[in-house]
């Protein structure tokens, strides 16, 4: 019954305040079972607080949250049986070895001594950590720590896994490994809610994305839908002569039919692009009107650009960041 609830997470009007700061300010989410859902936003947007509310670590001040068919306020114990949390900062015991970490958690979950040891060995092996298994976790690299952290979360397979910024601070190789792990977990039937500051990560992994700003969802949809509203990419242009920037801005806006904004660099401009075909024409038009381009590039929009497109303001990290304050 609870198992077959079609939504893994359903919230309405979720609110959490810390003093006068409304860290989560009326969030509505629907996360389908078996999917990967991404919460995208800058530091201090309320992503971590949302995760902590859903993982029963915090109690909401208002609104409702149903996780795996259960109410987070009334049935936190039942929810804890079916979820795992991988926090923003490693949720592992740094003083213990990788092996001891996993055995400890397996014992807490009720595995026998021998089962716990076997499971720990199996996970360390599968996560490519067997060489480091007898070392204290504090000696691990960022990528190894994350892998241990995720291994710790799946000692018994959770129905719902929370991953709070799983790849922040990882090198591209480790990031790729973590992504692959997440995909495999979901293939096995687990639902994943992840938070990220990287559009690319959300795009790569998430079936649906909610963009969060100042405690509210400002956009929600599949990655394709989001891109349709913010443009599939961003054209960055750097001019030889900064004096020509206004002219270039006007011309690009006309040719691309998109919003063009001026970057911090006085020679640089950026524009959301919905149709890449028009980029070439726009660049030709620039040079035809005597505006010299020193370089240009077309890429995925950064979080800043997503925010600019959605809100018209930059993704300034909130001054009072509940994430870092906690």
């Amino acid at each position: 019954m609870h198992q077959h609830h079609p939504l893994a997470i359903e919230t309405s009007g979720l609110v959490k305040c810390f003093g006068t700061n409304r860290a989560v300010d009326g969030i509505d989410l629907q996360v389908r079972q078996g999917s990967i859902y991404g919460l995208l936003g800058p530091n201090g947007a309320g992503k971590t607080t949302t995760v902590r509310l859903l993982a029963t670590l915090l109690r909401p001040d208002a609104g409702k949250a149903i996780v795996l068919g259960r109410d987070v306020v009334r049935e936190p114990d039942e929810i804890r049986r079916q979820i795992s949390l991988t926090g923003q900062f490693a949720s592992i015991d740094e003083d213990l070895t990788g092996y001891e970490n996993l055995v400890l958690l397996a014992r807490l979950l009720g595995f026998s001594r021998s089962q716990s040891k076997a499971r720990a060995g199996e996970l360390l092996d599968a996560f490519d950590l067997e060489d480091a298994s007898r070392r204290q976790a504090k000696t691990y690299s960022g990528g190894m720590r994350r892998r241990l952290d995720i291994a710790a979360s799946i000692i018994s397979t959770p129905d719902l896994l929370f991953l709070d910024e799983p790849t922040t601070g990882l090198d591209p190789r480790s990031r790729g490994q973590v992504w692959e792990l997440i995909r495999m977990l979901v293939a096995g039937g687990t639902t994943v809610l992840l938070t990220t500051q990287y559009l690319e990560e959300a795009d790569q992994l998430a079936d649906r994305i909610a963009v969060i700003d100042r405690g509210s969802v400002i956009a929600e949809g599949t990655s394709t839908e989001l891109k349709a509203s913010i443009g599939s990419g961003v054209l960055h242009v750097r001019l030889s002569d900064p004096a020509q920037r206004d002219a270039a801005r006007q011309l690009l806006a006309e040719r691309l039919g998109a919003l063009v904004h001026l970057e911090g660099d006085p020679r640089a401009l950026a524009a959301q692009v919905s149709d890449p075909d028009r980029v070439a024409a726009a660049l030709v038009a620039l040079s035809a009107s005597g505006i010299a381009v020193s370089d240009f590039s077309l890429g995925q929009p950064s979080l800043d650009e997503v925010f600019f497109a959605l809100t018209g303001h930059a993704a300034a990290s909130a001054d009072q960041s509940p994430e870092s304050a906690l």
């Binding site: 949390l85 979950l109 009720g110 599968a126």
Partner: protein, 279 residues
Amino acid sequence: MNMTSNPRRSDVDQTLRKTLAARHAPTSPGAVANALTFGWRALLKIKHMPEQLFDVIVTPIMFTVMFTYLFGGALAGSTDAYLQFLLPGILVQTVTFTSIYTGFTLNGDISKGVFDRFRSMPIWKPAPIVGAMVGDTVRYTVSSLIVVAVGFIMGFRAETGASGIVLSILLLDLFAFGIGWIFTTLALTVRTPSTVMTLSWLVLMPLTFASNIFVDPATMPGWLQAIVGVNPVALLVTAVRGIMSGTVTAGEIGFALLAPALVTAICAPVAMYLYGRER
């Protein structure tokens, strides 16, 4: 999850798929098993950071040797006679001081990310705290044994022999576990481990010195004798002396356990409330 360049990729993927295959947790192991697992965690920490035990080992040796030879002659006529009197008291002092570390380590521990994981797991909620305190009884036992060993080398003999010593250590462990809740509560209230330390000393200094650990209270002024008479540390010292000399009464043991029982009854619920609080 391996790189395309890895020739074992398919093997590893196989292992990984198998490892990730759905598997559900066995039934919850229950409160006691959870707490004991956390006790094991405390022991693992000592194993990785044996320097934690330095204080536990050095301080009691220092106190026993220092007080016996400094004051023994003056207070009891001979160092041998004084040692017979002092050693049970030093045991109590050592274990009481050691119980501060429960709060000290917990305060640093609890702010770490791993506690988020513990809190989001289907385990007995007080287990991380109770388990840490259970693990600390190992510390109490170790420091007690060291005091006894040093005392033995210096010439101390318990009239009730090994059984007296075992019983004494059991009583000491119970006492320290009980009053440990004070420091646990403190650890959950204040921000830094060093504050826990400072406040704990403020509580313990008067308790250990305004007692019968070092001298017979008969020479003290009346008001101080009255204090010593109800000081939980002094009551424990009386019981331990009684156990070691074979004159202990059930009443003495009862009085010794009164304070830790009261502290547990009051501080344990407060500590659990503080632990359950959002942070």
